[in-house]
């Protein structure tokens, strides 16, 4: 007897995309409470920003500008994680604002108090060595996780997969990371005691933005968000299991943060490039790999489900079987765009991207059971016609060496960027 092959999406709770948020959420008390909390956080952080701007106006503007620019690629990557069912922009903004305004506002007094408690209940030596590793992660991870809970409270229907939790958690973490980096940069300016100079801002930007940026709050927030996503979505599991998994995920985020902040490996390896590499590999890589595996698993599960929906259309003008396969994976989607650029130029690349988006949107509407799919079908056909006119009628990923060349190019570019950054940091004395 042979077992029937089963889709990954069928092995767990069904993917049920919710309708876009509408005015009904105004009737939820949670919406108004979350808005009030966001407003309070905005007031508090505005006061702090005003103090920075008054004392060091040029440095503050530089820090805000640089870290705002840094947020753009991070935002793009995070919002692209769930390409097939993109989260509403408004909710992404709320998640980002929670991280930047609320979690930071709460963490400043909370972390300081916990650091003091470590010194009082332990010793100043313990606080000096482990205060930053224990106090910050404990308060910050809780404050950030509450941001994903806030999203669930105001738009429960939008959190319908573990991947949604990852996206909102990462957005909360990104908001926190950007604002915290600005605060750190201004702290460096004040500590330097040279007045309104931008050098400490640049050094902080390179060190915190690039060298340690990838391993930072966005990653920890994503892990905790995955746990909240699991708690909300996996209704077929017992409540005890769901709460256990959610707590494990938050604990994982906390542990990753503790490991990153800990004095482990700080002594004994010195301050050279090799030491930095060792720290990145042993402290940063494990949570990065864990999250990557988690995102991939959640994405594949969701992709299976939407691919099944699209396959029922049986209309090659809407989507071909090869396009369904390409749409299921982030790397194959990128390969299809790359392939279009090589064959028909940048306009074809952009057209493939628009077609993929239109197909993904159609899949989501199919899943929602939207009675009239006319406008979504028309949009896919419109994009198909554009692609056909450009001489590249099918958005497929090529077999063979194409993706490897793209990967090699990305690895080379990354290595070059790291080398340039390292040289810049060394020149500025931050290394």
């Amino acid at each position: 007897m042979t077992a029937e092959p089963r889709l990954r999406s069928a092995r767990s709770a069904p993917v049920l995309p919710g309708a876009s948020p509408d005015l009904r959420l105004l009737r939820l008390p949670g919406f108004w409470i979350v808005m009030a909390v966001l407003a309070a956080g905005a007031v508090r952080m505005s006061v702090i920003a005003g103090q920075f701007a008054a004392a060091y106006p040029i440095a503050f503007l530089t820090a805000t500008g640089l870290f705002a620019l840094l947020a753009v690629p991070f935002w793009f990557v995070v919002s692209e994680l769930d390409f097939l069912e993109r989260e509403p922009l408004g909710l992404q903004v709320v998640a980002f604002a929670w991280g930047g305004l609320v979690a930071t506002t709460v963490s400043i007094p909370g972390s300081a108090a916990l650091d003091d408690l470590i010194a009082k209940l332990g010793s100043p030596h313990l606080a000096a060595d482990w205060g930053a590793a224990l106090a910050g992660p404990t308060v910050e991870e809780i404050a950030k996780t509450l941001g994903v809970v806030a999203i669930v409270l105001i738009a429960r229907a939008q959190v319908n997969s573990v991947l949604d939790g990852v996206v909102y958690g990462a957005m909360v973490g990104l908001g926190f990371q950007i604002v915290e980096d600005i605060v750190y940069a201004m702290g460096a300016v004040a500590l330097a005691g040279r007045g309104d100079h931008v050098e400490p801002v640049i050094t902080t930007f390179l060190l915190r933005g690039f060298v340690s940026g990838v391993w930072s709050h966005t990653l920890f927030g994503a892990l905790a968000g995955a746990g909240i996503g699991y708690l909300v979505v996996r209704g077929e599991r017992t409540l005890r299991t769901r709460i256990g998994v959610a707590m494990l995920a938050v604990l994982g985020a906390w542990a990753s943060h503790v490991l990153w902040n800990s004095p482990l490996l700080r002594d004994g390896l010195g301050n050279g490039a090799l030491a930095l590499l060792a720290v990145l590999v042993f402290k940063g890589l494990p949570p990065l790999v864990l999250i990557w595996l988690l995102v991939r698993s959640a994405h594949d599960r969701e992709a299976d489900y939407y691919a099944e929906q699209l396959a029922t259309l049986d209309d090659a003008e809407l989507i071909t079987p090869a396009e369904v396969e390409a749409l299921k994976s982030g790397s194959r989607r990128a390969s299809a765009r790359w392939h279009a650029r090589v064959r028909a130029g940048f306009r074809a690349r952009a057209a493939v991207r628009r077609l993929q988006r239109a197909q993904a949107r159609l899949a989501v509407e199919l899943s929602r059971g939207t009675p009239d799919l006319g406008c979504w079908r028309r949009e896919v056909r419109r994009q198909r016609r554009i692609l056909t006119r450009l001489g590249h009628p099918e958005a497929i990923a090529p077999e063979g060496r194409g993706p490897w060349r793209r990967t090699a190019s990305a690895v080379f570019s990354t290595a070059l960027a790291v080398a340039v950054l390292w040289a810049a940091i060394s020149t500025l004395g931050g290394g």
Partner: protein, 189 residues
């Protein structure tokens, strides 16, 4: 007027739980922190290790405030309290000269709203041979004294603050303590 639905009630309870969680972090932890005493007795008959290889003999009657004391290998801070007077020493890695270190501290003092440097600066020396510069500052309702030393790739910043009457009473003991500052270079690995 519509009645409150079960969903709205659950949503309200969830949101209140959220606010309670935030309140616990923002106000609960600081409140718990304030219930515990921060000061500890410290031996005043032997040197105290601040960090970065720098030591000082605390003034008689001083107690250490553990919330602002962070001794580490390459840097460190210590806050002694003599009643209402704060006697704070900070040791940080530094690659400039004494004048640059003094400028840096003056910038930080005057960067705080309402604070200004007063009087002229004088040279000071410790029993261990450290040469430094000392000056005064004032803030809202408080007076203060600062001293800066540079030794072995570190800057040692001393700030003393309190009401004028309290300062007048405790400064001799604090000056005597400052003169016991010593710097021993960190062993190279």
């Amino acid at each position: 007027m519509g009645s409150v639905t079960r969903r709205q009630l659950t949503n309200l309870l969830g949101a209140l739980g959220l606010v309670a969680g935030l309140g616990g972090l923002a106000y609960g932890l600081p409140a718990l922190n304030h219930t515990l005493p921060a000061e500890r007795p410290v031996p005043t008959d032997r040197p105290y290790e601040i960090g970065g290889g720098v030591t000082v003999v605390p003034p008689a009657g001083a107690r250490i405030d553990v919330t602002e004391t962070r001794p580490a290998e390459a840097s460190g801070t210590v806050l002694f309290r003599l009643g209402p007077v704060r006697y704070f020493i900070s040791v940080q890695p530094f690659d400039g000269d004494l004048q640059a270190a003094v400028r840096r501290l003056r910038h930080r003092i005057t960067g705080t709203s309402g604070y200004q440097v007063t009087g002229t600066e004088l040279t000071v020396a410790t029993a261990g041979g450290l040469a430094g510069i000392q000056g005064g500052y004032s803030g809202p309702g408080r007076g203060g004294r600062y001293a800066v030393f540079v030794a072995d790739g570190h800057t040692i910043e001393v700030t003393v603050s309190g009401a004028d009457l309290d300062l007048g009473r405790t400064l001799p003991a604090i000056d005597a303590s400052t003169r016991t500052l010593r710097s021993a270079p960190e062993p190279t690995r």
